[in-house]
């Protein structure tokens, strides 16, 4: 059987790779997608269990995935095994790298919050003097966001606020706020904080993944082939042209080495795996910034209040429940200065109970307290932007290799003074809002999870117009090798406070359409 020839190789099958496949195949371009893990069989690979039926009573196998705080014994098999694909970090700088290698990648499990970045992020350097602007603006990406929002069926309430650009939403199912959410909204509004609602991707049948919204269309064209369990080790280069010629990969089970050729290589392995592949390939880094400016969002600040009239089972219908969402409200105008740059969003959720660790009690006394506070709590959390810094970076650790002999990543990311000041402001602001509501403060912390926990890691191959300061151009092509693209979150210049999925999808769509045009013009042939 003759070996098939492909125009484009796509490494990775998540939202970024799936969108590249959908767009490119729609233009008649033949693609081969390589995915490092298997396709999950939702019938065979899942069952229903109670915690006591699992080997570790729900605690999980100790030491299996120590960096994945989201892991429990029910979901542990969906994540990448840290023993198979380890990474290193300094002892004083824990990094949570949360990965999925199943076909569809993390698009199988995302929380579906769907926000656009605004020009407060795209043009952040103009606003706060930090780092670099993106080479594109919201206007450039807006048409692509709109198409992505249509595919993913994003629902949201239109507001007309520049820091929270509206999208091409499906109808927002408005329900009346409960009295507690009305009170929070009023208190926040008095402080000049705008209050909206979550925006989420409805997707289809409860799933908004590459495997149900993107890849089926691509496969239906007959132009896409997908190989599972193909672990890409290195991008190969044609010595005569200096262009990418294909990739070397290893079969996950047999460890057989293979090589596949294509005219273009599109990397969409999920930010840090994409960067790891390029660093291991020693490609695309003439700028010296590859691996640098790693950034994500701070998650974890927790401020909780209790509504007295909802305690001891006295709550009435319409008092508790629901949520309020406050998109970034700090540093939106240059004349209002704070002791930090950038901002955070705050989300409040009404109607929960208290956690046992909120009280220094035990036994029956603790249980009485928990029973009394059940359903009476309003909690505030934030997603806070971290500053993209050169020193927060990844590099190859040649001393440690994964199960396939591929050198692993060393990740170094630390928070600085800006992050500390932002966190404090967020926790204080939540406390003040609760105080204004007249509620009892149950607990407050401005502590956050380690970097990476948000599963929103972006940067490390940032885009830009200047090849000396960036890895990719504004079309996600590497400045150094024009037929080598990175279309996932690695291309981000700043993280923003927003969940990145919509932006990853819009960037991949935009880059892929440009690539299709280039291929149509006979480039890369």
């Amino acid at each position: 059987m003759p070996i098939k020839q492909y125009d484009v190789l796509i490494v990775g099958s998540g939202h970024a790779g799936g969108m590249a496949a959908k767009v490119l195949t729609s233009h008649g371009i033949s693609c081969l997608m390589l995915n490092a893990g298997p396709q999950a069989d939702y019938e065979k690979d899942r069952d229903l269990k109670a915690a006591h039926e699992l080997p570790y009573r729900g605690f999980n196998e100790p030491g299996r995935v120590p960096h994945i705080f989201q892991a429990d014994e029910f979901n542990v098999n969906q994540w990448v095994d840290e023993k198979e694909v380890p990474y290193t970090h300094p002892p004083d700088a824990v990094y949570n790298w949360v990965r999925v290698r199943l076909l569809g990648g993390r698009s199988l499990f995302w929380a579906r919050q769907s926000f656009r970045l605004s020009d407060y992020e795209f043009k952040a350097a103009d606003i706060d003097g930090s780092g670099e602007n993106w080479p594109i603006s919201h206007d450039d990406l807006s048409p692509f966001y709109s198409r992505v929002e249509e595919i993913f069926r994003v629902t949201g309430r239109k507001e007309g606020w520049p820091q929270f650009p509206d999208g091409n939403f499906v109808e927002f199912a408005a329900s009346e706020d409960t009295a507690s959410i009305k009170k929070v909204t009023e208190a926040a509004t008095k402080r000049g904080i705008q209050v909206s609602k979550w925006r989420n991707a409805l997707g289809k049948d409860g799933l908004a993944s590459s495997i149900n919204l993107l890849l089926p269309d691509a496969l239906a064209t007959g132009k896409l082939d997908i190989v599972e369990n193909a672990i890409v080790r290195e991008v190969s280069i044609d010595k005569n042209t200096g262009l990418a010629s294909g990739v070397h990969f290893i079969d996950r089970h047999s460890k057989r080495e293979m090589h596949v050729r294509a005219r273009v290589v599109v990397i969409a392995a999920g930010t840090l795996e994409s960067t790891r592949l390029l660093l291991n390939s020693k490609l695309g880094n003439s700028s010296g910034v590859m691996g640098h400016y790693l950034v994500d969002q701070m998650y974890g600040i927790n401020v909780v209040a209790s509504v007295p009239e909802a305690r001891d089972g006295k709550s009435v219908d319409g008092l508790m429940g629901g949520n309020a969402f406050m998109p970034r409200f700090r540093n939106l105008s240059k004349d209002k200065k704070s002791n930090f740059i950038k901002g955070y969003c705050m989300h409040m959720s009404s109607g929960g109970g208290a956690n046992p660790n909120y009280f220094p009690l035990y036994g029956e006394e603790l249980q009485q307290k928990l029973d009394s506070y059940a359903g009476s709590c309003v909690s505030a959390g934030i997603f806070g932007e971290r500053v993209a810094r050169f020193e927060n970076h990844v590099r190859i650790n040649h001393d440690v290799k994964d199960a396939w002999g591929i050198p692993v990543l060393h990740i170094e990311a630390r928070d600085g003074e800006n992050e500390a000041n932002l966190r404090k402001d967020a926790a204080d602001t939540a406390e003040e809002i609760f105080h204004d509501c007249g509620w009892e403060l149950v607990c407050k912390t401005d502590q956050v999870n380690p970097p990476g926990y948000s599963i929103h890691e972006v940067g490390t191959c940032r885009m830009g117009d200047d090849p000396k300061k960036s890895v990719l151009n504004k079309w996600n092509q590497t400045h150094d090798v024009k037929n080598l693209l990175v279309v996932d979150g690695a291309s981000f210049v700043t993280a923003g406070w927003q969940n990145p999925t919509m932006t990853i999808l819009a960037l991949s769509m935009r880059a892929s359409e440009h690539l299709a045009e280039e291929i149509g013009k006979g480039n890369f042939s």
């Binding site: 893990g37 298997p38 999950a40 065979k44 690979d45 899942r46 069952d47 229903l48 269990k49 109670a50 915690a51 006591h52 039926e53 699992l54 570790y56 009573r57 729900g58 605690f59 196998e61 100790p62 030491g63 120590p66 705080f69 429990d72 014994e73 029910f74 979901n75 542990v76 098999n77 969906q78 095994d81 023993k83 198979e84 199943l102 369990n229 996950r252 089970h253 974890g300 927790n302 401020v303 909780v304 109970g353 956690n355 046992p356 660790n357 909120y358 220094p360 009690l361 035990y362 036994g363 029956e364 928990l370 059940a374 199960a403 396939w404 607990c443 407050k444 912390t445 502590q447 999870n449």
Partner: protein, 211 residues
């Protein structure tokens, strides 16, 4: 198809299908021979019991004194309340002996030093083992070690406070995730990590690579 399976398949024709056959003319007999295929389903799964309902966990990671201290903590921190079993009823100390024996060294050290610390404190103040203290005496030792944590991963700097936060959480989870808890009425009432009803579980999807 084996005869037994064939007979079983006749027995499980749904009532609606039978009713339909009674009112609809029989279809013309199919002329082509049936292909040889494996049965769509294997034999019905048999009911099994969990080992916990039939056997005790063999403990041995903690010393006798450490285990007695852990058992006393279980009795105090998570007692039976109303219809729900306590940590001792749920064999949580035995389970934690197993879990900690498999845990990374820092967890093992925290547990051992924490349990030893409680016992040393009991000896110092009451001249007897922690396991032998009455509730009031034990309270005077453990209450000052409990701290408010707004965030469940917040770790107190003091070792004894850190241990108390850890063991308290572990005892609660081991109790509320137990078969005894599930048998006592199902939901955790928001008191555990999971309710004791069944939920979606991902099985190992592929053989893990040889590391």
């Amino acid at each position: 198809m084996k005869r037994r399976n064939f007979v079983q398949s006749l027995l499980v024709i749904p009532a609606t299908a039978v009713a339909a056959e009674q009112t609809t003319p029989a279809p013309a007999p199919v002329q082509t021979p049936a292909p040889i295929t494996r049965p769509a389903q294997g034999p019905a799964k048999l009911n099994l019991v969990q080992p916990d309902s039939a056997a005790e966990t063999t403990t041995g990671f903690f010393s006798t004194v450490q285990f007695a201290t852990l058992n006393k903590l279980a009795e105090l921190l998570v007692p039976p309340i109303k219809e729900k079993p306590g940590a001792v009823d749920a064999h949580a100390p035995e389970f934690l002996d197993f879990l900690i024996s498999r845990s990374p060294a820092p967890s093992q050290t925290l547990y051992r030093e924490g349990l030893d610390g409680l016992n040393a404190s009991a000896k110092k103040h009451f001249h007897k083992a922690f396991a032998e203290l009455d509730a009031k005496q034990a309270d005077s030792i453990i209450r000052p070690l409990l701290v408010v944590r707004a965030w469940d991963r917040e770790e107190p700097k003091d070792l004894m406070m850190r241990f108390m936060a850890q063991v308290h959480g572990d005892l609660r989870t081991a109790t509320m995730n137990s078969a005894e808890w599930a048998a006592a009425g199902g939901s955790s009432g928001g008191r555990g990590r999971f309710n004791s009803g069944r939920r979606q579980h991902w099985k190992p999807i592929d053989p893990r690579a040889e590391v």
